[in-house]
């Protein structure tokens, strides 16, 4: 089993799971890696990897991104690994690529998460993750999809989390950051504001907490 980063650099890992379209945000890893190195001195691998949730290799990547549109139905091995992963100190971001709390991804993913960890907790908007690098005073920043009424046509002012002690082990978003940050890398230079800053907070939080 190859360890992608023998030098101990940060590696952005996307979770492969059996039941859904896990690869639906292919440009997101590169965009977040780019933002990370723009603002911090954190050593990072230049490309992301994908790793199977039911494999032992998943434990070599303490930061994971999970997204999709389709139903989420974990196998026993995936479930076992996810529970262990979160309890041991890993950080996994689960983002609903549909931006739809009535949609099948949200319903099935939250059911799977609750089955493993119980009901998620609503993260207060003054939580450490909103100020661990950049400051987000109002809580999680809204996405263009939200502001344009995509999906469930709601602005979700909170994120939900599975806490291990007071550490976030799993962060759940209905805000569709997977669409927000899945732009072509060339697009970034034309943006007036860097919309990926919250992604930097996520990675810094995972690396320091």
């Amino acid at each position: 089993m190859r360890i992608v980063s023998p030098t101990g650099k940060f590696v952005f890992a996307t979770v492969e799971y059996a039941s859904g379209d896990w690869e639906s945000a292919p440009a997101l890893p590169g965009n977040l890696i780019d933002s990370l190195v723009r603002y911090t001195t954190i050593e990072a691998e230049p490309a992301g990897v994908s790793v199977r949730l039911d494999s032992a290799e998943v434990f070599n990547y303490p930061f994971l991104w999970l997204t999709g549109h389709l139903p989420v139905r974990f196998s026993d091995a995936e479930r076992q690994n996810l529970k262990r992963y979160v309890e041991r100190g890993g950080f996994i971001m689960v983002d609903d690529h549909n931006h739809d709390i009535t949609g099948i991804f949200h319903q099935t993913a939250t059911a799977e998460i609750e089955r493993l960890f119980g009901k998620m907790k609503r993260l207060p908007n003054d939580h450490e993750i909103y100020r661990c690098f950049f400051e987000f005073k109002g809580g999680p920043p809204h996405t263009q999809h939200e502001l344009n009424g995509w999906g469930d046509d709601l602005l979700h002012p909170y994120l939900d989390a599975v806490l291990v002690g007071d550490r976030i082990g799993l962060l759940y978003s209905s805000k569709d950051y997977s669409s927000e940050w899945n732009f072509h890398p060339e697009t970034k230079q034309h943006m007036q504001q860097d919309i990926t800053k919250f992604g930097v907070n996520l990675i810094v939080y995972a690396l320091t907490r």
């Binding site: 360890i3 023998p6 101990g8 911090t40 303490p62 992963y85 041991r88 100190g89």
Partner: protein, 434 residues
């Protein structure tokens, strides 16, 4: 036919013979008793009868000298009793051809969860069994350095039994732990080192280097780096250089320092690190760290060019993985493992707890702590030593004199004397002589 005068003469001769025999035996006994009175009588006892003999010697017998043959170091009560007997004027000699040296020591662990380190010495190969008031805690054969044990906080006193010998020790003091300071760049090793130590109960101040725009700081890190506030500084990588001189000074003042491979190159640490250089990196095998040998698979930077006073604490094959040394009144421990976090994340069932324990062990080996006295408990941590201390050197062969009859009249002697005298009297009476 006997001659007329021969009968009475023979009878008289017999009577004289009986008389002389009786007196001779009496005389023999008197001479022997007098001789023995000039020498002291020795009472002997084997180990099995020691308890009963001690009672008798202290009450009805009151001997001048006793000689005790011990099968093993006696119980504290018996040892002290022998000592009291000696103090009361009885000369106590002892010998024990096969006394096993056994000793045990209980030390508090530098661990927020408490616990004790037990060290028991015993002859190599002897099975040492550790027990406390609730029963057996475990056993192991002694190596040339004895047996070691890490026991939880609920154990305060321990007995180490080797055969019939039991040594006991109790915790005499507890430790007052200070804070830890962790310095490192934002990364998995820094993150999981802080996490593991905090989960274990340590108070951690941290400086995690993130960016020129801002670093993550926890606690009043760097304000005052001294042993009043900190027990150990953990330098995870070269970002610790910003505190380099302060850390070196802290160590010389008695503090502890743990160095990761990436921190070994910091110039300020050159004078304190156990290893001057690192060997060629041995890559992580990528395998799952097993519970039995978790660090076998991790990335390793072998420690090379060790200082003369450095001690190797762990090897992996021929490579030195962990080394330590004393610097002034402080201590420095250097790790060759770069990514222990992988053990915690990818290891076996107990990996997170074992990783926490291991890191606490590492920190505990160099931690500066205060000591708080606990109420003393009566124990005998080294029974053989205590025996020597109390009763002196053992007796060698041939020192005990011939004890004769021991001051008692044997029954047969009295009978023979009496029979002779009665026979002599009867003979005279039969002859008609008064």
């Amino acid at each position: 036919m006997p001659s007329p005068g021969s009968g009475p003469r023979a009878r008289v001769a017999l009577e004289w013979a009986l008389r002389l025999t009786a007196f001779a035996l009496l005389g023999w006994y008197l001479v022997d008793a007098l001789r023995e009175g000039g020498q002291e009588r020795v009472e002997r006892a084997e180990h099995g009868a020691l308890a009963a003999e001690l009672r008798r010697w202290s009450t009805s017998s009151a001997p001048e000298r006793v000689a005790v043959t011990l099968a093993h170091s006696p119980e504290g009560r018996e040892r002290d009793w022998l000592g009291a007997l000696a103090g009361a004027g009885t000369e106590v000699g002892w010998s024990g051809p096969e006394l096993l040296p056994t000793a045990v020591m209980v030390e508090p662990r530098a661990d927020p969860m408490g616990g004790v380190d037990v060290s028991a010495s015993a002859p190599r190969g002897a099975t040492v069994t550790l027990r406390d008031s609730l029963g057996e805690l475990g056993s192991a054969p002694a190596s040339e350095w004895g047996v070691g044990a890490v026991l939880p906080a609920s154990v305060r006193s321990v007995n180490a039994a080797v055969g019939a010998v039991t040594a006991g020790a109790a915790l005499e003091d507890s430790l007052s732990l200070r804070r830890l300071m962790v310095v490192g760049a934002a990364g998995w090793e820094t993150k999981f080192v802080i996490a593991a130590l905090e989960e274990r109960g340590w108070d951690v101040d941290a400086h995690v280097v993130v960016s020129p725009k801002g670093d993550v700081k926890q606690g009043d890190v760097g304000d005052r780096l001294d042993t009043a506030r900190y027990s150990v500084v953990l330098a995870v990588d070269s970002t610790a250089a910003r505190y380099g001189e302060s850390i070196a000074r802290f160590v010389r003042q008695g503090g502890g320092l743990v160095l990761w491979p990436s921190a070994a190159g910091v110039r300020a640490f050159a004078g304190v690190a156990p290893a001057a250089t690192l060997g060629e990196r041995i890559e992580d095998t990528g395998r799952v760290p097993s519970d039995s040998a978790p660090r076998e698979v991790l990335e390793l930077h072998p420690l090379t060019r060790l200082s003369d006073d450095a001690e190797v604490l762990e090897r992996r094959g021929s490579a030195v993985a962990i080394a330590a040394r004393r610097v002034g009144i402080g201590r420095v421990l250097q790790l060759g493992y770069a990514n222990s976090w992988r053990w915690r994340m990818a290891g076996g069932t107990d990996a997170p707890e074992l990783h926490r324990q291991w890191l606490t062990d590492v920190v505990g080996r160099v931690a500066y702590t205060g000591r708080l006295q606990l109420p003393p408990r009566p124990t005998t941590s080294a029974p053989l030593v205590a025996l020597f201390d109390r009763l002196g050197m053992p007796a060698t062969d041939g020192q005990d004199p011939d004890e004769g009859w021991g001051g008692e009249v044997p029954g047969w002697l009295f009978f023979v004397i009496g029979a002779c005298l009665i026979a002599e009297w009867a003979s005279r009476r039969v002859r008609g002589v008064r």
